[in-house]
Amino acid sequence: MKYAFSFLAVIALILIAWLGSQIPGMPYLFGIALPYLAMMIFLGGFVYRVVQWGKSPVPFSIQTTCGQGKSLDFIKHDRLEAPDTTAEVVARMFLEIVTFRSLFRNTKSELHDGPKITYESSKWLWLFAIIFHYSFLMVVIRHMRLFLDPAPFWIAWLEFGDGLFQVGAPTWYMTDIGLLAGCVLLFSRRLITRHVRFISLVNDYFPLVLIFAIAATGILMRYFLRTEIDIVNIKQLAVGLVTFSPVIGTEIGAIFYIHLFLVCVLLAYFPFSKLMHFAGVFMSPTRNMKNNTRAARHMNPWNPKIIPHSYGGYEDEFREFMVESGIPVEKELPPKKDEEKDEE
C-alpha cells in the first residue's frame, strides 16, 4: 500500500500541473512563481537542516572503522579504514562520496539447511545506486544548457559523450536510460528483498516514483511529445528565471509544466526528506570523525565544566575555619600583626 500511495500522489501532482497550466494566466504560477518558491524552500530548508545538525553535540567518538587503527610502529595501520588524521578522513570521505565504498561492502545473509548461515557479497545496491546517482548528476549538469547564457563549451562535450551512440534525433542520452533504470531497479529492490520491503516507508518509495516521473516527463518532452516544445522559448524562460527577469513568450506545451512542477515538488520536499543524505553524508559522525581515540581524548560537549581543585587550594580557601574548629592544617595561619604588637 505504501508504494501504491506514492504512485497516487505523483499522479495527482501530474494532474494538478497538467490541468492547472491550461488555465489562462496559470503558466506564470507554474513557470515562474512556484520555481522561485521551491528554490527558496530548498535553499532555506537545506541550510536550516545542516545548522540543526551542526548544533547537535556528539558525545562519543563514534567513527565506524573496518581496519587496523593506528597503533605501534610495527603494526600496519589501515589509513583509509581507520583514518587517524584529517587528511585521511578527507580521503575516506571523498572515496565514499564518489564511489560509494560502504555500499560495496554490502553482504547478504542466508539461512540454509543445517541450520547454517552464510554471508555472501551483494553488490546490487551499490550498482543500482551508482547508476542512479551518476545519471542524475549528469542530467542535472546537462540541464545547465538551458540556464547558462551563452552555453559554455564543456556542456557540448558532456552532451557528446552522453549521446555517443547517436541514436535518433534528438540523440538519446545514456544517462536518460540510466536514470529511468536506476529508479526502477532501486524501487524493485525495495519490493523484492523481503527484509528491505519490511522497513520501507512511503518516504522511501515516493522520491523514487517522483524522480522517475521527472525523468519520464523529460524524456517524453524531448523525444515524443514535442508539440509546442520550442527549446529557444524555454531557454528564454529559464535564463529569465536566473536573471530575475522571467518572461513566458509563446505558449509552452503542458508536458513542460508537468516536468517543471514535479521538479519544484522535489526541491521543496528535499530538505524534509531522506534526500538530505546529500548533506548527511558529510555531517555523519561515523564518517567524519578520526579514529584517534587512543591519541586524543574526545570531550563530551555535555560535560559540565569542572575545574580541578587540589588539597593545597582547598586548605587555602578554608584554613581559617579549619584552624578555628581544631582541624590540623599543613600550613599554619600567618601570625596576626596587630595582636603581636599588643602583647609587646
Partner: protein, 133 residues
Amino acid sequence: MYNKRFIIPGLVIFVLFVTFPLWFNAFSTASPVPKPELPPGGEKECVAPASEMRDRHMVLLNEWRDGVLRDGERDVITVGGKQYRKGLQMACMQCHTSKEKFCDTCHDYTSVNPFCWDCHLTPEEAALKKETH
C-alpha cells in the same frame, strides 16, 4: 554550533554551487535572442507549418535519413504543389541557404550540436569543394 570551521564554508560552497547560474549569467554578456534568417529566396512554404518545423524538424530529418539510407526510400515529397527531394542539402538548404544564419542561430543559443554536419556539407563548403575538383 560545533565545527563551524568546516560547516560554514561547506554551506557557502553549497549555496554558491546551487546558485551558479545566477553568477554565471551576471558575469557574462547575454546572447541576442536568436533570429533565424528567413529564406533569402523569399520562399514562404515549407514541408510543414513553421510551428511544427520548429518543434519537430530533427525528428523529420531523422526519419528522412533512416528512410533514404536504410530503406532506400528516395521518393519525392509533394507539399502544396511543390516537390521536394528527401535530404538536408537537397530540400532544406535549397531555401535556407546559410547554415550559419539559419541553423546555427538557435543551435548555438541552446547548445545543440547535431551530427548532420559530420557527413553533410553546407552550401558554402559544397561550392568550395566543386572549385577544387
